[in-house]
């Protein structure tokens, strides 16, 4: 080994020590209080339920069988309904979020630059308030006797005195409300980079506004749309607060199923299995985001 290598090695060791001193306390904190706990939770998913909700040995796949609906009393579709509702709700609310966010982002990108920052802020500000309070706001608006519920009653959309809340509809509305900013921001980033020459060219060649949209506008904003979709659908899939508050007992989603297993239902392994499913969905979302990361160019970083 040459003299140069010795010097460099010594220097590198010194720098490694510096790196560890600065990074280790925080990194250890995250490791001990998040990585270890979630690893523990994942291991619980493979244990046996001990009656009082305490996981026990031996290792089994019972929890997953439970999640699929197999219990003491044979198969029941309850859990699968919940899973299905989670998927259904996140897909429906994603679709609605896109319908609202797309024109909004487009409009913001058309305004003067100085105005755009304020408009984006206006979209984000409501999400700074607590989730519980936001859901509570909707409870106020949708409960029986309020103008909205009365209107829906008169139009024959709901039974008398039922109100719009609690219901699956209220959950969907809550999800759309909650996740709208997550779609507007990446979409706006895509619209900001829109190449208007392409739109002009398309308009010259095709004339129909609808065709212009599908040929020139939509493909250019697709990366933002996809990024936003991941940012909306994945967290919506694991949502807990909104179905708990705005939905009744029959509007439960996966998050509620998981939470109840650690509370009144007392089946930790089953809850852990549900949590594992959520983590897998998150992982899938991250992989998709990463794949698109290069094409996106930082659109996702704006979302906090």
């Amino acid at each position: 080994m040459s003299q140069v290598d010795v010097v460099w090695r010594r220097r590198r060791r010194r720098e490694t020590r510096h790196l560890l001193v600065s990074v280790l306390p925080g990194a250890l904190w995250i490791f001990i209080f998040l990585v270890l706990p979630s690893a523990y939770l994942m291991s619980v998913a493979f244990m046996t339920n001990g009656g009082f909700g305490q996981p026990q040995m031996p290792l089994t796949l019972d929890a997953f069988r439970n999640l699929a609906g197999f219990g003491f009393l044979g198969w029941s579709p309850g859990n699968l309904y919940t899973l299905w509702r989670s998927i259904f709700q996140s897909v429906i609310s994603l679709g609605l979020v896109v319908l609202v966010a797309y024109p909004v982002a487009w409009y913001i990108s058309m305004c003067r630059p100085r105005l755009r920052a304020i408009m984006l802020l206006a979209v984000v500000v409501p999400s700074w308030t607590n989730q519980v309070i936001r859901a509570f706001g909707w409870m106020n608006l949708l409960s029986p006797g309020t103008p909205l519920s009365t209107l829906a009653e008169k139009m024959g959309l709901i039974a008398p005195n039922m109100g719009l809340f609690p219901s699956d509809f209220a959950v969907t509305l809550g999800l759309v409300y909650n996740f709208l900013p997550f779609m507007v921001l990446p979409l706006y980033a895509a619209f900001e980079k829109l190449d208007h020459a392409q739109i002009e060219a398309a308009r010259d060649l095709y004339a129909s506004p609808l065709r212009t949209f599908f040929v020139a506008v939509l493909p250019q904003t697709l990366p933002g749309l996809l990024a936003g979709s991941v940012l909306v659908a994945i967290p919506a899939f694991g949502m807990y607060v909104i179905p708990e508050l705005l939905g009744g007992g029959r509007s439960q989603m996966l998050g509620n199923l998981v939470a109840s297993q650690f509370g009144e239902a007392a089946n930790w392994p089953l809850g852990a299995a549900g949590a594992l499913l959520m983590l897998l969905a998150t992982l899938l979302g991250l992989v998709i985001l990463r794949r698109m990361g290069r094409r996106l160019g930082g659109g996702t970083e704006m979302v906090i």
Binding site: V23, W29, P126, M139, V258, M278
Partner: protein
């Protein structure tokens, strides 16, 4: 012409969306001043729900817990996160992939999984050692965990925006390592640290799910109190608490924004 009509249509849609976004918050704020006990009808202006709050010891306690939790966790997170941000910057030439995954983990983890993992973990540790019984302590631990990444990212991006020769200049002008920390790095970082503190504070006050699962019987924060109160039934008193929270979070967020702007 078609184009202008299209834009006009979008503008209408934009205002409708704004109504959609702010209606729930405005309703909460409005009915906190309602004189009658319903959110279906307006019965006149009154401050009775705020008065009632003042005499509610549980609420006062919850406010205290919320602030205490936010302040303590933010201070710890700013220290640990700033150290990470500095380390990441100083050694940005290195391959730190695993570390970065670790730092992003609290951001991407679904909060229900986050909260339940911590709860299950703390329960087990408590059973084995008697430590970490659920309460303000466990909540601080959990909050710091999700605040660290945001602080680290703010501090890191502040460093990246800095002329790297400033570090050389400080050395060149006789500053010892400690003097560099005291007279160069910390003062330069001050706006970023303040803004990181405000963001951490906001995140802490905003959080419900993780707090809910790591809280103990004596350490309910405002969001947890509101949650419980809602489940017992809607009451205008909740409107009043919620209004106070909306106002304070908005205030802190605006402050943080101002600090950020002055920096830039």
């Amino acid at each position: 012409m078609q184009n202008r009509r299209f834009k006009k249509g979008l503008a209408v849609f934009w205002w409708l969306t704004l109504i959609f976004l702010y209606a729930p918050l405005l309703v909460v704020m409005m009915f906190s001043f309602n004189s009658i006990n319903t959110s279906a009808r307006w019965g006149g202006f009154s401050l009775r729900w705020y008065e009632r709050l003042l005499h509610n010891d549980v609420v006062i306690g919850a406010i205290g817990h919320t602030l205490l939790l936010a302040v303590i966790s933010s201070i710890i997170a700013v220290i640990l996160g700033a150290m990470i941000g500095y380390g990441l910057y100083r050694h940005r030439a290195r391959k730190l992939g695993l570390l970065i995954v670790l730092i992003y983990l609290p951001i991407v983890m679904p909060d229900i999984v986050f909260g339940i993992s911590d709860m299950a973990f703390f329960v087990q540790i408590n059973r084995l050692t008697g430590l970490l019984s659920p309460g303000l302590g466990t909540m601080v631990i959990a909050h710091v965990t999700f605040q660290i990444p945001f602080v680290a990212l703010i501090v890191y991006s502040r460093f990246v925006g800095l002329d790297a020769t400033l570090f050389d200049a400080a050395k060149d002008l006789y500053a010892s390592p400690w003097q560099r920390m005291l007279h160069f790095i910390l003062p330069t970082l001050k706006p970023a640290l303040l803004s990181a503190f405000f963001l951490s504070f906001t995140l802490s006050v905003d959080d419900f799910v993780i707090s809910f699962f790591t809280a103990g019987p004596e350490s309910a924060t405002l969001p947890i109190y509101i949650w419980g109160a809602i489940r017992r039934g809607i009451s205008p008193e909740i409107n009043a608490i919620a209004t106070l929270m909306i106002a304070s979070v908005a205030l802190v967020a605006v402050l943080s924004l101002l600090f950020n702007r002055r920096r830039a």
